[in-house]
């Protein structure tokens, strides 16, 4: 019986005007979005290759000049464009995507301009994730808002229930048919997108990519299910489909617009941290103190003489500046990440946030990617420093006074490019990604289950006459 009702419901949807228009809009978006995303991705990948070549040239130049120059040089590790960006951009254009480091320290992170145009407003990539988050959630509401109240108005609900169909079966079939029809639209859209990818050919459709597509589809089914139960709830709590529509729209606006839009407000109110100006001031004050207490002549220098005795004082002072700054900055970065993580947890009341974070984790992008790079770069920096110190120790013409910012008092000998350690990004393995996303997926399942149970209870009491 359940199967028959589901099929009947799906058939009804398939013949409806809303399905036809929705289908066209979604296909249009997949059709317009895919060539745009992959053309942009290809262009960015080419530019990134150029950037990497420039970087290699820079390292070669510094290495051939002198090792101290290489060690004190501040490099920016810029995140490479992800090939699965068509699925979701994971907010990588607005999250910190550049980390500055030298052999002495990982200084900090930044949001690189990349190819982002600051003169444009509403920078959004038309990825699959955007289509699911904004459009498919809206369409789900549009299909679900009158699932019960609409039938009641048309007097077909009483008729359906007069047959040997339980309320639970009817509700479940409505739920499955709406999820099914939206998933069908999404699936066709994804197929069209893949055909375009095959034709243009900038992204290889390998097993990894297909696995990611499948995972994304499953996550979006979960997300659509969550919106469906909210649509059904709106339909059950009233007898008038107009009111159901208004409630559905309120849910949608709350989840898609209001909660995400107020995140920054809540972050600052509930989880305040010091401003950057306060931290900078703290660093500056301690720096002044260190400078004041430094032995006389600490700022003296003699360009051509590495063994000029005051270079040791200068190196010590600069090193204490570095340690002071590192202490404050590292603590501040921890606070920043903690504020961000707490705010993310706070926004988990919205299915949009749950879907966003789980997709991001599943694709190994966004915040997970940043954290991985941040941790790995700290390890790499230590390796780079050991390499530098080893090479410096072998140089008899170096006084070995380590100065993190200047090149007065350590080796001035060149080094072969092949010997220089170069940082390469490690992509998070699947198990790590799954571990990161599990929390969000479980919450989304519980959320959907709870609201569906509420719908069930309310529908049991629903007056079908």
């Amino acid at each position: 019986m359940l199967g028959i009702i589901i099929l009947k419901e799906i058939q009804n949807h398939l013949y409806s005007l809303r399905f036809h228009i929705s289908f066209i809009i979604v296909l249009l978006l997949f059709g317009i979005g895919t060539p745009g995303v992959i053309t942009a991705l290809k262009a960015e990948q080419d530019l990134y290759i150029e950037f990497q070549e420039n970087r290699v040239e820079e390292i070669k130049h510094l290495a051939s000049d002198n090792l101290t120059r290489l060690a004190t040089h501040r490099f920016d590790h810029h995140f490479a464009p992800r090939s699965n960006r068509i699925i979701s951009d994971c907010h990588e254009k607005v999250l910190p995507n550049e980390i500055t480091y030298s052999a002495y320290n990982v200084f900090g992170f930044n949001v690189s301009l990349g190819t982002v145009n600051p003169l444009l407003k509403n920078v959004q990539t038309l990825s699959w994730s955007f289509i699911v988050v904004i459009i498919l959630s809206f369409l789900t509401m549009l299909f679900a808002f009158d699932a019960i109240s609409g039938e009641k108005e048309q007097k077909t609900l009483a008729l359906s229930l007069s047959n040997s169909v339980s309320k639970g079966t009817l509700l479940f079939s409505k739920f499955v048919s709406i999820v099914g029809i939206i998933t069908l639209i999404e699936f066709v859209g994804m197929m069209i997108s893949m055909i375009i990818i095959l034709i243009i050919g900038n992204i290889s459709l390998d097993i990894n990519f297909l696995f990611e597509c499948l995972g994304f589809l499953l996550l979006s089914v979960l997300y659509i299910s969550c919106f469906t139960v909210f649509g059904l709830l709106a339909s059950i709590v009233t007898k008038d489909s107009n009111v159901s529509l208004l409630i559905s729209l309120c849910f949608w606006l709350l989840f898609v617009i209001v909660i995400p839009n107020t995140s920054i407000f809540w972050a600052k109110k509930l989880f305040p941290i010091d401003s950057a100006a306060v931290v900078n001031n703290r660093i500056k004050q301690e720096r002044e103190e260190l400078s004041k207490n430094a032995p006389p002549g600490s700022w003296s220098s003699q360009g051509n003489n590495p063994f000029y005795p005051r270079h040791e004082l200068r190196a010590n002072l600069q090193m204490s500046f570095l340690m002071n700054e590192k202490k404050h900055r590292d603590a501040y970065y921890v606070e920043m990440m903690s504020q961000f993580e707490k705010t993310r947890n706070f926004t988990l009341v919205s299915p949009v946030a749950l879907f966003d974070y789980s997709t991001e984790a599943f694709l190994g992008g966004g915040y997970l990617r940043f954290k991985k790079n941040w941790e790995n770069l700290s390890g790499f920096q230590e390796q780079f420093l050991s390499f530098f110190k080893e090479a410096d120790a072998a140089d008899e013409e170096s006084p070995h006074w380590y100065n993190p910012y200047e090149r007065y008092s350590t080796t001035r000998k060149p080094v072969s490019f092949e010997e220089v350690p170069v940082y390469t990004e490690q992509i998070a393995p699947f198990d790590e990604r799954l571990e990161f996303m599990l929390k969000y997926v479980i919450i989304l399942i519980i959320y959907t289950g709870a609201i569906f149970s509420l719908c069930f209870v309310l529908f049991m009491k629903y007056d079908a006459r």
């Binding site: 990134y48 145009n117 617009i257 839009n261």
Partner: protein, 512 residues
């Protein structure tokens, strides 16, 4: 008769659930958005005060001309509480360097405290208003004719000698009468919250701009009412009408503006910023190479110098150098080096600008395409008009940058006219008559009786009288109006066209 129909519809609407929900939505979302935007504005003001004070203090403490590099801080505009435009994407300050021609500002507020928070979605009052008002306009107008038809009251009304035009005008006026109080409520509520907030004053011309935005909001609302009415006049059932209306809503409010940005970003390519930086860095290296390996050794040769040391020396970006207690031979070397090196630095700035400008031209091309595509969406037009009136659009920013570049030229001319590049004061604040030779310096250093003027900290600051200062200009109302007039007319024309279409469509409407 039109009034009677409008009044009846108005009275029916205000007791409807949709009116209650609409008002509740506005009462909930608008104050919250305004409060968030006020917080954001206050943060901008806080940063502005910090930056301005720092810039003024640094300028006042400058002791040598090579350190005279003013920082221009752009004051925040209180109207950005209503429409933030591109303000969130750009910074608020520019340092006037001679080695670079500024293209963009620094100190983006959103990146200062916690850049991670940047990944959260953030929209302003105008965005929210365009979402809510358009949605309410469609919700009140989607069943303008279909409901009357379904209930059979349309036949009754039209059989009483009311013309279809009168009926149509009455119905549309009824919806407008219902929505206008909500719109006014949104604005009044926002203004009240702003007025009650401490330290924010929307002064002078800003009120006129706000009034213009309000006027445009009415046209925007009218357009969606007409759109809803038109769809209603083309369908027979309210259920069909609402679905079509909502799909149109999501298309015009969410998809077209995003598509406009997406298409302009994807199909008009710009260089990766890091590659631009790399090209600029190469020119910097070229300059440094000439400076240190050509100009320096030449002066060394002229002065017969073999070794140099400095007593108290600070150096930095853009040729900043401040030294004291250094031997006069080295002082002379540095003076000559700067006299020749600084004009060359300015020439190199022009070379670098060619690369940066090419990059900026790419941005401008993307921007032009985005603006054209945004004209396809009423909300796009509404946002463009509001951003122009709130002076938070790209034009206001680019005009500011143009003024900054002009100021840089003026400052350089001032340096050249006063021959500051050739002066000792470019590198030292120590009086020239207290310069000592190498031998004297060594003897004094060994004696331990270091004169006060050998420390940079003890030397006098520059007299800044006569030095040109940046004058921040804001656009007048007429200029802002000039920018938005075409867009306003465009939206009005669309409204008029839509009105004719509805009239035509409703005249054919089968009321049975």
């Amino acid at each position: 008769m039109i009034w009677h129909i409008a009044k009846k519809d108005f009275l029916l609407n205000i007791i409807s659930a949709r009116f209650m929900v609409g008002c509740a939505l506005c009462l909930l979302i608008i104050p919250f958005t305004i409060l968030t935007n006020i917080e954001d504005y206050k943060n901008q003001v806080r940063l502005y005060e910090i930056d301005r004070t720092t810039a003024e203090t640094r300028l006042k403490e400058t002791k040598v001309y090579s350190g005279l590099r003013p920082v221009i801080v752009r004051p925040p505009n209180p109207l950005t509480i209503f429409c933030n435009g591109i303000n969130g994407n750009v910074g608020n300050k520019v340092k006037i360097n001679f080695g670079d021609i500024p293209a963009l500002t620094e100190g983006k507020a959103s990146l200062r405290d916690n850049p991670f928070l940047n990944s959260f979605f953030s929209i302003d009052f105008i965005n929210i208003l365009s979402i809510l008002i358009s949605l309410l306009a469609l919700i009140f107008s989607y069943d303008l004719f279909t409901r009357e038809r379904e209930e059979g009251t349309m036949k009754l009304s039209l059989s009483k000698g009311i013309s279809r035009t009168q009926f149509l005008l009455g119905k549309i006026s009824g919806v407008l009468l219902t929505l206008l109080p909500i719109l006014i409520l949104c604005y009044l509520l926002s203004i009240l919250i702003i007025v009650l907030s401490k330290g924010i004053s929307i002064g002078g011309e800003n009120w006129i701009n706000l009034l213009l935005i309000f006027g445009f909001s009415i046209i925007f609302m009218l357009l969606f009412v007409l759109m809803g009415a038109f769809i209603s006049s083309r369908t027979k059932h309210s259920s069909t009408s609402i679905v079509v209306n909502l799909l149109c809503w999501i298309w015009f409010i969410f998809l077209v503006p995003n598509l406009a940005t997406f298409i302009s970003e994807s199909y008009v390519r710009v260089q990766l910023y890091d590659n631009v930086e790399y090209a600029v860095k190469e020119l910097n290296q070229e300059y440094n190479n000439i400076f240190h390996n050509e100009i320096g050794p030449e002066i060394d040769k002229e002065l017969n110098m073999t070794n140099r040391s400095w007593w108290n020396m600070n150096g930095g970006y853009d040729g900043y150098m401040e030294t004291s207690g250094t031997a006069k031979e080295v002082m002379e070397y540095e003076r000559r080096l700067k006299a020749q090196g600084e004009p060359l630095r300015i020439d190199y700035a022009d070379k670098k600008w060619a690369i940066v400008k090419d990059h900026m031209d790419g941005f401008s091309r993307q921007n032009r395409l985005q603006n054209i595509l945004l004209c396809l969406s009423p909300s796009g037009l509404f946002e463009m008009v509001s951003a122009a009136l709130c002076r938070s659009n790209e034009k206001a920013f680019l005009d500011f940058m143009e003024d900054v570049r002009e100021y840089r030229e003026t400052l350089i001319r001032h340096f050249e006219l006063n021959m500051w590049f050739e002066s000792y004061r470019y590198i030292t604040a120590q009086p020239v008559d207290q310069f000592v030779s190498y031998e004297e310096q060594r003897a004094i250093a060994q004696s331990g009786n270091i004169p006060d003027c050998w420390s940079n900290n003890n030397n006098p600051v520059l007299d800044l009288e006569g030095v040109p200062m940046f004058d921040y200009k804001t656009e007048g109302v007429l200029s802002s109006l000039n920018q938005v007039l075409i867009k306003m007319i465009l939206l009005l024309v669309v409204c008029i066209l839509l009105s004719f279409l509805i009239l035509w469509s409703f005249n054919q409407y089968d009321v049975r």
